[in-house]
Symmetry: C3
Subunit: 212 residues, 3 copies
């Protein structure tokens, strides 16, 4: 039993680090495309990696922020941004963007789950909890795109992203209200969110568009 | 007397719902113009409807947010966005934009009044209370425009919008400090704000521009 | 001794007012370039002057905001914006932009120092304190540029700005942890930040760019 918990914790840590790296890299690459300077690359990397969780904590009035409790994550993302500036070149962008799709999908699931989890602990209504999950998963990318003066990708590329987190969030809330154990709700939320996102990428699903 | 209060409450509820619908529709139409997908349409609708009040509560450190206390408003706006996607077409845009000007003006007045009211309850200085009213009424639209990668309409279309809320806010503060009953200050603020906005639309008033 | 403290307080007040004026003017001029109306000019001036400090207080959960405690600063910036609209013309822009570089550099240092100071009082980790200083000094300008639909200057003009505040922040944290008196740490932070910024302007230093 101890062992299971240990492996669970380790697995979660690995997923969390992979997801944060994927989110930060998405910011670094967008900043590079926009020809920002070294400061801009780091700031946009930070916004993409930590923006969603920070907005969640701000809305839920939770302090200290998770990056204050785990300040080593700030150092890690700072190092990642500087290393990317030193070693990454334009020709690495397309393969990197392809490679980070999978940890990014996992991160979407994991971040959404943490948002739903915290909102449920505060006894917020079901829809609010699901929206908190969606905000945690999606708004890092939204802040990244707003600062880079783009319409957020999550809102106009017609591939399901936020809706996966929305669906996964309802799974979490459903299991929670049925009295399922916490780890099961968390795992189910991550699996459903990341699975839907993976299917959407693989089958090239499209969101309904406005019919003018 | 009971009756007066009942009708007052009902009237306020009707105005509030009409205003929220008007604000959400302004977001839905801007999102459609920018060709956002279904997620984008809903998010921009939510930002326009709830952004200003949420920013007010965040700045004043008020929890729970009003949309946590009235979660049925979230469901309503979600349904509104999805219905708009299903039934609204490009040719409906111009008449809708014209029709929502009036509930929008009422909403500006009502939202500004709630902002001033909350700030006065917290005993904040007069100018701060007026600014909180302005932020509540105006920043939903600002967030909508920023996410859609536009300069906020409220800041560059040269028709008085925020200044109406500014004027109405001072009426509220003035009546409050003269010891007038709360409902009178609220009604006066809404009437002055919405009235000035209506006059500005009708007489086509222009704000002073920068003379280069 | 009394005298020294008096002159210290007075000096700080003078620097603070000069810096706030410089920050507000940067907002006013950007709003004018974007042809915003009177409301837009005032809002962007306010965002540039008060945005960074407000974001700091929001993240650190400090209330009341500094502009609630010093409401005369709100009145001052409002008057400044209106006076600029009345008397400033296009031909004043280039000399004003040049003239405000120096109070702006001082303001960057002073605002960064207040951010670091507050974070250290809350016993936050060193890197978080330095980032709070950076956010306080830089994000007023970031909000100004985002609302004006530009990529923030601080992130893409390749002249050191935020990195000066970053360096100055570490000086503050270093002296604080060595037990130096508070005023010394503050002065050192301001001198290092403003000095580096001044050198960067004078010698035309460039930040490393992305090599594609």
């Amino acid at each position: 039993m101890q062992n299971v918990q240990f492996w669970g914790e380790t697995l979660r840590l690995v997923v969390e680090i992979a997801a944060t790296v994927a989110f930060a890299m998405s910011g670094v690459m967008e900043a590079a495309r926009k020809k920002l300077d070294a400061v801009g690359v780091c700031v946009v990397g930070f916004l993409a990696a930590f923006g969603g969780g920070t907005l969640r904590d701000l809305l839920l009035d939770q302090r200290p922020f998770f990056w204050v409790r785990h300040v080593e994550m700030l150092w890690g993302v700072l190092a990642l941004c500087l290393l990317a500036m030193a070693f990454m070149r334009g020709r690495h962008f397309a393969p990197t963007a392809k490679a980070i799709q999978w940890p990014d999908a996992l991160g979407l699931g994991l971040f959404a789950a943490t948002g739903v989890h915290q909102a449920l602990l505060l006894e917020l209504p079901a829809l609010v909890a699901v929206l908190m999950g969606l905000i945690t998963g999606v708004f890092g990318g939204v802040l990244r795109d707003v600062v880079c003066n783009e319409i957020p990708t999550a809102f106009h590329d017609h591939r399901p992203y936020a809706v996966c987190a929305f669906a996964g969030g309802w799974i979490y809330v459903g299991l929670w209200h049925m009295g399922a154990p916490g780890w099961l709700a968390l795992v189910a939320c991550v699996v459903v969110t990341a699975g839907l996102r993976g299917l959407a990428l693989w089958r090239n699903w499209q969101l309904p568009a406005w019919r003018t």
